[in-house]
């Protein structure tokens, strides 16, 4: 059998070879296995076909001159197998086969490497483009959201932060800002909170979020919110973003002020309805004081002085004065437009206080008030004035609802009760009630059944209940009529 140098023996997968290094290895392997066979073939063939040549025989084997074979155009196949060929001119391949093979291998190897490098380069270019694009997106997003990124490192307790420049317009990339400078621009009252948040995040390797004010170069205060977390690789490094939240804060403050103004306005209008009652409450003690004083004046003109009676008069004057002062104190709080407080309150106490305010008005309207206050009610947390406003509003609404009833049926029931984790305050009337389809609508702003009503009362009531983490619902009263119940959570830690 004859094995010749044939190109078809090269594996067809060559073109698709993935890497230059692998290709070189394959070539070397092929050469190592093929070399001995190809080296042996021409000699054997020539010897086998030497019977056709007329060279003098050396012994019993045929002697063939290779040059003559070339000259006469005799193919090597025609030489007998046992003939010996002489003057065989060796080719470059036959004389320097190894060198040629090595050369080819090196070239293939280089080609492979170049190819590999090209692929790598292309891939890197693609990555760089993607990175640039992503960074551009990031920058755009940061600009739109008015946000800057920062890294906070704590090396040898020398804290530095890479942060935005102070006017906050454009993130200052790569600018290393000494954290102490940044800290100086933070409002003094917020500094402790910021450092505490950073420290805690570093110590616990957790996330943090902190809001603070910084002073812009023009002297204005801006609100910022910083969020971040510890670097998972280097726990002492914090990564984060800072957002300018001045607008949001301003809107929040504005909304807070608007709500306070609405509460105040509706409260003052409520108190307007109570003005007759208030006048009465103040005039009673004044009447008593005046009459007592005039009686005392008259008594002082007589001899002997009735000292025990005069003493009693003085005691009565003091008592009346205290009553008037109480009325003023109760009203003062309701008229004032202060910040809502978060104090510990006994709801029963609030109810009692409020009923005193509204009692005269209800008496004038011939409404009887029945109070059923639960003993030992757990305390709630909230603003006394707002809760009084809620109750006042519900009580006046209930009395309005009963205006058409005969006088002996106008009964207003105010009830407090403790109910699993909440305190319930219910105000029930015996009026016509509210049809089920209108039950949610009564809480909508500007919903009113009275022609002169503003329709804010119940909306404000519900809002007050919700501000106190509670709810306000409307149900049926046991004797017919509407029952408004406010649920307020019990103060924690009780």
């Amino acid at each position: 059998m004859s094995v010749t140098r044939s190109p078809e023996h090269v594996p067809p997968s060559r073109a698709a070879r993935p890497s230059g290094a692998l290709l070189s290895l394959l070539v070397l392997w092929l050469l190592a296995f093929r070399a001995p066979a190809t080296a042996a073939t021409p000699h054997n063939v020539l010897v086998a076909n030497s019977h056709r040549l007329l060279l003098p025989a050396n012994g019993d084997s045929l002697q063939v001159d290779w040059r003559q074979l070339q000259r006469w155009g005799i193919s090597e196949g025609a030489v007998p197998a046992d003939a010996s060929v002489h003057f065989w001119k060796t080719t470059l391949w036959e004389s320097h086969r190894n060198e040629v093979l090595i050369g080819i291998a090196v070239m293939l190897l280089q080609a492979g490497l170049i190819f590999d490098l090209l692929i790598h380069r292309r891939r890197r270019q693609r990555t760089v483009t993607a990175l640039a694009r992503s960074e551009e997106h990031m920058r755009l997003a940061a600009k739109v959201a008015d946000l800057s990124t920062w890294v906070f490192e704590d090396d040898n307790a020398e804290a530095t932060g890479r942060a935005r420049d102070r006017n906050g317009a454009e993130p200052a990339h790569q600018a290393i800002v000494d954290f102490r400078d940044t800290l100086v621009s933070i409002a003094p009252s917020d500094r402790a909170a910021v450092t505490a948040a950073l420290r805690e995040a570093r110590e616990t390797s957790g996330e943090f979020e902190v809001e603070y004010r910084i002073e812009a170069p023009d002297g204005a205060w801006r609100w910022q919110s910083a969020r971040g977390r510890a670097d998972p690789v280097r726990p002492h490094r914090l990564l984060g973003v800072a957002i300018d939240i001045t607008q949001r804060k301003r809107a929040e403050i504005q909304a807070e002020q608007d709500t306070a103004a609405l509460y105040h306005m509706t409260r003052v209008s409520l108190l307007g309805q109570l003005s007759a009652s208030i006048a009465h409450q103040l005039n009673q003690p004044l009447t008593s004081i005046l009459a007592n004083a005039e009686a005392a004046q008259k008594m002082l003109e007589r001899e002997p002085l009735d000292v025990p009676e005069l003493r009693e008069i003085c005691a009565d004057i003091v008592a009346a004065d205290h009553l008037a002062a109480q009325v003023i104190r109760r009203l003062g709080a309701l008229f004032k437009r202060g910040k809502p407080l978060n104090e510990r309150l006994d709801l029963n106490d609030v109810v009692r206080d409020t009923i005193e305010l509204v009692r005269e008005t209800l008496t004038t309207r011939h409404v009887t008030v029945v109070t059923q206050l639960a003993a030992a009610l757990p305390p709630v947390s909230g603003d006394r004035v707002q809760l009084q406003q809620l109750l006042l509003n519900l009580a006046l609404n209930a009395s309005d609802a009963m205006a058409e009833l005969p006088e002996d049926r106008r009964v207003l029931t105010i009830q407090t009760a403790a109910q699993d984790g909440a305190v319930q305050l219910c105000v029930a009337d015996r009026g016509p009630g509210v049809p089920p389809e209108a039950r949610e609508r009564v809480f909508e702003p500007f919903w009113s059944t009275r022609p002169q009503g503003m329709g804010m009362g119940l909306a404000v009531c519900r809002s007050i209940a919700e501000v106190h983490q509670g709810s306000l619902t409307l149900g049926d009263a046991p004797g017919g009529g509407a029952s408004f119940c406010a649920q307020l959570p019990v103060l924690m830690g009780q």
Partner: protein, 220 residues
């Protein structure tokens, strides 16, 4: 004067401090007082025949001032009332005065004003009582007249002379004169002018009262 006949100032107010102070003030001005914390308590103990007046707070729990005023009118008591209120407005004061209140005062009321109102109410009450007792006497006397005497009185009041009356009644002038003398005596009138005043008073009374008044009877 007996204690039971002295006028009493009734005070009704739901505020004990006010009640006590006003009672003191009125006592210092030599007035007898009776204080009540509610309209119901007052009604339970009220003696309409006792002279006096009522100082009444408008705004009371339960029966309020106006309701008490109506209740008193219903039971025929014309107790003089001075209203006191912590928040007087024009409609309520008009309502009170129209319903016959003596005065309508806003709290806090100065002692002088309250005393003046109380004295005015007491004077009115005394006058009314006097008048009503005079009226009662007059009615009593008119009731004692005979039918003939009433007819003569009616004709006298119409301005007729003795002769005309005698003609009308188909009696003699002497009989008319006799009736007239009896009439004057029974009505305790000293002059014919006084008799005419009594007649007018009786007519006035009959105008404001129910059917069977003496003067109506006189006309029939």
């Amino acid at each position: 004067m007996k204690a039971s006949c002295a006028p009493v100032v009734y005070l009704v107010d739901d505020d004990v401090l006010v009640l006590r102070a006003q009672a003191r003030l009125l006592r210092e001005h030599a007035l007898e007082t009776a204080a009540f914390e509610s309209a119901e308590a007052f009604l339970a103990q009220h003696d309409a025949s006792r002279p006096g007046c009522l100082v009444l707070d408008v705004n009371l729990p339960g029966l309020d001032g106006f309701a008490l005023q109506r209740r008193l009118a219903d039971i025929g008591s014309c107790r003089r009332i001075i209203f006191l209120t912590g928040h007087g407005d024009i409609p309520t004061s008009v309502q009170a005065i129209k319903a016959g209140a003596v005065d309508f005062l806003a709290k806090p009321v100065a002692g002088g004003i309250l005393l003046a109102a109380v004295h005015a109410a007491l004077a009115e009450d005394a006058l009314a009582r006097q008048a009503s007792s005079a009226d009662a006497l007059l009615r009593q006397r008119a009731a004692s007249l005979t039918a003939r005497e009433r007819e003569v009185l009616l004709r006298l009041a119409a301005g007729k002379l003795n002769k005309q009356i005698a003609d009308d009644m188909c009696i003699s002038v002497a009989t008319v004169k006799f009736h007239r003398a009896r009439l004057m005596e029974r009505m305790r009138a000293h002059t014919i002018a006084e008799l005419m005043r009594f007649a007018a008073r009786l007519e006035l009374l009959s105008a404001g009262e129910a059917a069977a008044t003496p003067y109506r009877a006189l006309r029939t």
